[in-house]
């Protein structure tokens, strides 16, 4: 272990020490995940900032292979692929985070509500509802909602929100079933707190950690859905740089200019792989498996 650099300020040192402690608790898989995701985040922030090239603008002759001037080459409209790939990274990651965060809130709330009720009929109907919603093939349900709401970013996000909350509700319900008779909940009831307050302030926070663990794997699915629908021309549409839309454009040049799909596809996959490694690593830590 190398000692912290002596030049850093006390406040900075404290956070560094903490960071190092977290780092030591991680296993190899989750460390790789963190490294990959950090790399993509740094590149997606810095590349569009530092490059003089506009992600939307013509810069040079179209369809150039990767070179020193254009590391990823240029696309069919003569735009710099490097800048476009990392501008796309910003949009894709932001959309995926938006896509995950709303269902986790809605689902956890509804699931906790369902888990704390003692009404038998409500439970029966509830089970059927969640089973039915999760019975639809995910992409087909998203496509169906997008068809109705509109084939654009807004429609895509609404479709993800409507179709993804049920799994969180399932997790929250299972957990809150175990919690509703816990002593701290009984204590809150004795204190005369309202049902809603007990639900939101006492039960939901305890349910949340499990939902967050699932959210990591859901993130992979959602970023793939965002890319997939944009690939079909039903989400983010050109000229906006987005990995799936770029794959759809580059697909036409598959035979002769394969780098047009290789770079966006590689970084989309790498993002998903990074999250997958992190998720799997954390899962194994929580299960107590080493190596």
């Amino acid at each position: 272990m190398t000692a912290g650099s002596p030049s850093i300020a006390p406040a900075g040192r404290l956070s560094r020490v903490e960071l190092r402690r977290y780092w030591r608790q991680l296993n190899a898989e989750s460390r790789w995940g963190v490294v990959i995701l950090a790399l993509i985040l740094v590149l997606s922030v810095s590349v569009p900032l530092l490059s003089p090239n506009d992600p939307y603008g013509f810069v040079d002759q179209p369809l150039q292979p990767p070179s020193a001037a254009f590391l990823f080459g240029t696309d069919h409209l003569g735009r710099d692929l490097l800048v476009r790939v990392f501008t796309a990274a910003r949009l894709d990651i932001a959309l995926a985070i938006l896509g995950v965060s709303v269902p986790i809130l809605i689902g956890t709330f509804i699931g906790t509500l369902a888990g704390t009720t003692r009404n038998r009929i409500a439970e029966t109907v509830w089970d059927g509802l969640v089973n039915a919603l999760t019975a639809f093939p995910e992409i087909i349900l998203v496509l169906g909602i997008v068809a109705m709401v509109g084939a654009d970013i807004r429609g895509l996000l609404i479709a993800i929100w409507i179709s993804r909350w049920a799994q969180y509700a399932r997790i929250a319900r299972a957990k809150s079933l175990a919690l509703r008779d816990a002593e701290f909940v009984q204590a809150a009831q004795v204190l005369g707190y309202s049902q809603l307050r007990i639900l939101v302030r006492h039960i939901m926070p305890n349910v949340f950690s499990e939902a967050l663990a699932y959210a990591l794997s859901d993130f992979i699915f959602i970023i793939v859905i965002i890319g997939g629908l944009s690939f079909l021309g039903l989400g983010v549409t050109p000229p906006t740089p987005e990995w799936g839309a770029m794959l759809a454009e580059g697909r036409l040049y598959l035979r002769t200019e394969p780098w047009l799909i290789l770079f966006p596809g590689f970084f989309l996959s790498l993002t998903a792989i990074g999250v997958a490694l992190l998720a799997r690593g954390l899962e194994r830590i929580s299960k107590g498996e080493d190596d």
Binding site: G128, P137, V149, I220
Partner: protein, 326 residues
Amino acid sequence: MTSSPGGLAAKTLPLLRHPVLRRLAQAFFVAFLLMVFAFLLIRLIPGDPAMILLGDEATEEDVIAYRKLLGIDGSIPSQFGRYVSNLVRGDFGVSIRSREPVLSIVGKRLPVSLWLTVTTIVMTIALALPLGVAAALYRRTWFGHAFQIGASVLVATPVFFSGLLLILLFAVQVNLAPIAGYHAGFPANLYYLWLPALTINFVLVPVLARILQSSIVETSTEEFVEAAIIRGTQGWRFYWRYLLRPSLAPTIAALGYFAATVVSYAVIIEIIFNLPGLGMTLVDAVRNRDYPLVQGIVFLSGLLVVGLTFMADLVNGWLDPRAQIR
């Protein structure tokens, strides 16, 4: 504690104490709710669907005719009543574009999708079984570690990227598959289907092989395995009866669960490989705002998954009596 639709029903109807019947009743209940969802789907359209389709210059008669076509005339309860009674009679409405009944469009396009699904699942079993067993037996060797890493990478790679890579490799570099397209008729169609099926399996096989692997590892610590070893059971009988068969149940259950995923990915795969199946029909329908066609395909795909999950449950109960359907 654990309550299910069957749980409540079992108290009221003695017949439903039979696990298979109870599971069937549950499946019907879910199918009914699928119908409700599909009905509600068209209500997500912001504004008047007839006006969206016809534009602002539409005449009054046109709008009324379109509302009738979409089943959105009259009160909501009466709309729902008509929707359900039509579905029960097999009437899924008419495509707005072609004016062809939705069910006959689906009937024409379904065979391609079914062939794709069947080819995929046969391939899944052929690949996941040996891989999962090998990954369990050689867990502590380089193979086990390579399997873990490879599985993580493959699972996270989106099918529309791996599909393009496979086309690049097998259709452009080596001429082992067509770049796209389809011709009906077994076995000639396998030439067009093996690459799309392989693409879906890039996601499916790692997941299932992993489940099988951890399931075998878990089974191998059971007492009945030890007892079988002590009794001197050997060879195929040992591997199948004591190790593989009890471990298969979670894998089959997962295969049922992933039926939805297969059907999902098939949509994107059909577009990439230009297969004229249901997925391509759906995407076209979404692009054309063909609401009844979208609604019909969404409902039928949900129904298909409910049926497949039900079958997986039955196979599951046969393979491992401990996992009795609850």
